[in-house]
């Protein structure tokens, strides 16, 4: 029994599968929530890192490069343990879900910073020059001229990370987040039937990633290629 839902182990695999489906779906909701939260954090933090990296002052750009390299080149699990166990020693106690979402967001923000940077650099040089000739401030140029043109170009690349984050969510089960794979393992531990729940997790994951990919393609198709419109 999990989440108050009991399973049926005595009427064959199909009945067992059907009985644990609602439990796995509960786990799937957590997986989706963690994906969205992690992705949102990564999108925002990644953009901040991309901006800080491009600041011409070395005192700003260098520490940012070091930090993002650190995030990129250390395992997600290490970062997760660090946030969950080490911070607790300093009385910073985050709930398991928040810790997990933060770890995902931080790691992927480092990847996304590079994607944003590529998009920002791909905006034609003439756009910056025109903005300068019109005496627009640096921040106005960035937010109103560069970014609206850069973001639509990088949507497919950012979207790939959405799927990657989704596939990394099971790592959060080690800090007690009850996402789909963790739930399946508990069911397996208690019923000694691992084949059915794990197969179902695989199938459900496939559905989720296909839907996520379709969503990214849809958003990409909807975005005007010349930039987000400013009326």
């Amino acid at each position: 029994m999990l989440f108050g839902i009991t399973w049926d182990t005595s009427n064959g695999d199909l009945a067992f599968a059907l009985s644990i489906l609602p439990i796995l779906l509960r786990g799937m909701v957590v997986t989706i929530q963690a994906t969205i939260a992690g992705f949102a954090i990564a999108m925002v933090l990644g953009l901040i890192f991309a901006v800080l990296k491009s600041v011409p002052l070395k005192i700003v750009s260098w520490p940012t490069i070091v930090i993002t390299e650190f995030f990129r080149d250390t395992p997600l699990l290490v970062q997760l343990f660090f946030l969950y166990y080490v911070l607790a020693d300093y009385n910073i106690i985050l709930p398991a879900f928040a810790t997990g979402a933060l770890a995902l967001g931080v790691q992927y923000s480092a990847y996304m910073a590079e994607v944003y940077r590529a998009g920002i650099e791909a905006v034609a040089k003439g756009q910056r020059e025109a903005a300068k000739a019109l005496d627009l401030s640096a921040s106005r140029t960035f937010t109103h001229i560069i970014l609206p043109q850069a973001v639509p170009r990088v949507v497919p690349a950012l979207g790939n990370y959405l799927v990657s984050i989704m596939k990394d969510v099971p790592v959060l089960s080690v800090v007690t987040v009850l996402e789909m794979l963790g739930v399946a393992r508990i069911i397996g531990d208690q019923t000694f039937n691992y084949l059915v729940p794990l197969s179902m997790v695989g199938g459900l994951y496939l559905i989720m990633t296909l839907v996520a990919s379709a969503l990214v393609r849809f958003v990409d198709a909807k975005l005007p290629k010349r930039g987000l419109p400013f009326k």
């Binding site: 020059e129 025109a130 000739a133 019109l134 005496d135 401030s137 010349r226 400013f230």
Partner: protein
Amino acid sequence: MSEPIIKFEKVVKSYGNYRVLNDLDFEVARGEKVTIIGPSGSGKSTVLRILMTLEKINGGVVSVGNEPLWHEQGPNGLVPAREAHLRKMRKQLGMVFQQFNLFPHMTVLRNLTEAPMSVLGLSKQDARERAEELLQLVGLADQLQKFPNQLSGGQQQRVGIARALAMRPKVMLFDEPTSALDPELVGEVLNVIAKLAEEHDLTMLLVTHEMRFAREVSDRVCFFDQGNIKEQGTPDELFTNPKEERTRAFLKAVLEG
């Protein structure tokens, strides 16, 4: 001639070992319409780009309206300008680019109101009125809700001109404004520029390969070669009776090409 609004004194610009501008001395009077012609690589576009603060100088002094552009008055003479000074100076200049450089994600109206609102602090209403007036001037009053990619090249460039004018600059810089256009669209852009040239307050600096047009609109034509002015004079002097062999060769090549 009245006092110069633009003044280059011994200006040097180099890329590595290559000197684009070589101790250039150059003046433009208030209200004067000056055309710069010359072979590619002669530094003519660089003059405009330095004025628009898109390129730094490596030596000498550039002044706009009697104030140094790339320098500020420090306690012990001139020091390199900071961004605040550059921003103040830029307000006096407007630039029209060869590739138009309109903001593709903004409507024509937004292209024209963005800077007046965010830089000059105009209200939405005032900025819109100014934009409509200017679009009238360039003959595009009915296109203000279009996006740049819905316009022809000639129309885009006319929007580019209107966008620069919306900041009410004292000096307009035209960097080969018709070079990227199909031949049949060149005329409509030149007409607009010719109309502007009739305004005697506006100082105009034009880099172009349209010799006939240069002859019609300019008070003075400067022939640039190897980073300096090789020869200059009224259009009549320069086009009908060039003194320098280099000028003659260039004009012959361009006019017969």
